[in-house]
């Protein structure tokens, strides 16, 4: 209801005890002014169609007055309704103005009665709805349904044109952008080393490295890569102490020879 609990409530409460009051001045149970009006109307114990709006307005205003003594602050909804009912009451009591610019008091009253009736009906409907057997409370679906499956079976679609244009598109693209380099034959370090190790047995005495290479070089274009890789491989073998390498002068031929005594590390193996 949004009513503020007021600190002064108890004090005021003590002062106004009215045993004659026909109703409890407590708004907490009401869902707004229309609900309050409906409750008051019900106490008239007549059909809503024949309700006395004037009497109802009086009751409402008295109730609100009383309520304000209990709580200084009332929800705006209630006060707006009170103001409107006070206005309606004055209109109902005074003779109708000669030239009616506003709806006459009787139809305003009828309209209010109609709204109350509408609220009453929808309440009844809500109650009926709530009384219906409900799923999960009174009605139960199958406890353990197996479930239905939908398996998607893709159906691929493509036209011959799609196929041909896809083919032409990429063949053309590749034909124009494809720069083909001549495949370079590269002699890897591993290959060179393997080859060297295989023929080391022949090189007990000092031999020129290029003599070895001759066996491997089949075309002049390969000479560079073979020489470079083999040279690196010889350095590795020197480091391992398996061969000796010698060069007598700058840019002179490289001499290599197998070490006669295997190094202790290898002997141990």
């Amino acid at each position: 209801m949004g009513l503020e609990k007021d600190g002064r409530q108890n004090f005021e409460d003590d002062r106004r005890e009215d045993p004659d009051e026909a109703f409890h001045v407590d708004l907490d149970g009401y869902e707004g002014p229309l609900d309050l009006l409906l409750d008051l109307a019900r106490r008239q114990k007549v059909d809503l169609a024949r309700i006395s709006v004037l009497a109802l307005a009086d009751q409402y205003l008295r109730f609100i007055e009383a309520a304000r003594k209990v709580r200084l602050e009332l929800a705006a909804d209630y006060l707006v309704m009170a103001a409107w009912l006070a206005y309606l009451k004055s209109r109902l009591l005074l003779p109708a103005p000669p030239k009616a610019e506003e709806p006459d008091a009787a139809s305003l009253a009828a309209n209010l009665a109609q709204r109350l009736k509408r609220l009453q009906k929808i309440r009844a409907a809500a109650a009926l709805l709530g009384e219906r057997p409900q799923m999960g409370r009174d009605l139960f679906a199958r406890g353990a349904p197996e479930g239905l499956d939908v398996v998607n079976a893709p159906l691929y679609q493509a036209s011959l044109y799609d196929l041909l244009s896809a083919y032409a598109r990429q063949r053309q693209k590749q034909a124009l952008s494809h720069v083909s380099f001549k495949t370079r034959v590269v002699w890897s370090l591993a290959e060179a080393r393997e080859a060297l190790e295989r023929i080391l047995g022949m090189a007990l005495e000092w031999t020129v490295l290029d003599d070895f290479l001759i066996q491997w070089v089949t075309s002049p274009t390969q000479a560079r890569t073979v020489r470079a890789s083999t040279f690196s491989a010889t350095l590795e073998l020197v480091k391992e102490g398996r061969i000796d390498l010698r060069q007598d002068r700058t840019f002179g031929p490289l001499w290599l020879r197998r070490k006669e005594e295997p190094p202790p590390a290898l002997a141990a193996e």
Binding site: Q114, I122, A124, A126, G130, E131, R132
Partner: protein
């Protein structure tokens, strides 16, 4: 379980008498078996189209379901239609034997129940219309609770100043309350007879029938992309919000 259920049972009885008049053919029996298995296995109410896709071409699904419904009349489990969908559920009169002690479903507050009723009987309804009938501002919480149940949905927007969001009920609502269609709402005739919802219509325009069609009505338009926040938030002009 007043009037409405009685009506519902009458319809079911009508269906039952179908089998007294007609005997399904062998083929129809086969289709009934399939529909029975499909609806039984489905986790949710099953549409006739979905069944048709799983039955032999040209099978009369509606007829098979009518026979099947008749066969289940008076049984402990009934075949029930909700909207255009079908499902099995326990018979209403056996509720006492089935109620599970531990689970007491959360009850809706009075405000929520009334708001739900207004939306159901008056749909499509705007927040302002709900507030007008109840004579009190609608709290955001109430609407949230209802949307959370899945019984209420946002339908669209009213073609009117402010383009307010319109609310309606869902198939889940029908399912939950055991209604075949929105026209089966209890007390609807009474409400219509009282002519209570024609306030916003000119005289002679007729009493609007609540509609939960997915199609928008003439005075509705799609939700669009605007944020929906304002649809739920209390009108800023109203200081107080009810507690829900």
């Amino acid at each position: 379980m007043p009037d409405q259920d009685h009506l519902f049972d009458l319809r079911a009885a009508d269906a039952a008498s179908l089998l007294a008049r007609e005997t399904p053919s062998e083929t129809q029996r086969a289709h009934m078996r399939l529909c029975e298995a499909l609806v039984f296995a489905a986790e949710e109410p099953l549409g006739e189209e979905e069944m048709a896709k799983r039955l032999p071409e040209g099978a009369d699904v509606a007829k098979a379901l009518a026979y099947l419904k008749a066969e289940y009349f008076g049984r402990g489990v009934n075949l029930v239609r909700v909207g255009k969908k079908w499902f099995f559920r326990t018979a209403p009169d056996l509720a006492w034997a089935l109620q599970r002690e531990q689970v007491e479903p959360k009850k809706l507050s009075r405000a929520a129940m009334e708001t739900l009723a207004i939306i159901a009987y008056h749909q499509p309804a705007t927040r302002a219309e709900i507030e007008d009938i109840r004579g009190v501002a609608l709290s955001k919480g109430t609407m949230d609770v209802l949307l959370e149940t899945g019984w209420v949905r946002l339908r669209g927007r009213r073609r009117a100043p402010g383009r307010p969001v319109t609310f309606g009920t869902t198939d889940k609502f029908l399912l939950h309350f055991g209604l075949e269609q929105i026209a089966d709402l209890p007390g609807l005739d009474d409400l219509k007879a009282a002519g209570l919802f024609d306030g916003r219509l000119p005289k002679g325009f007729g009493v609007p029938q609540p509609r939960d069609d997915s199609a928008l009505m003439d005075d509705e338009e799609p939700l669009g992309d605007e944020p929906l926040g304002e649809a739920f938030a209390p009108d800023p002009s109203e200081g107080e919000a009810e507690e829900s």
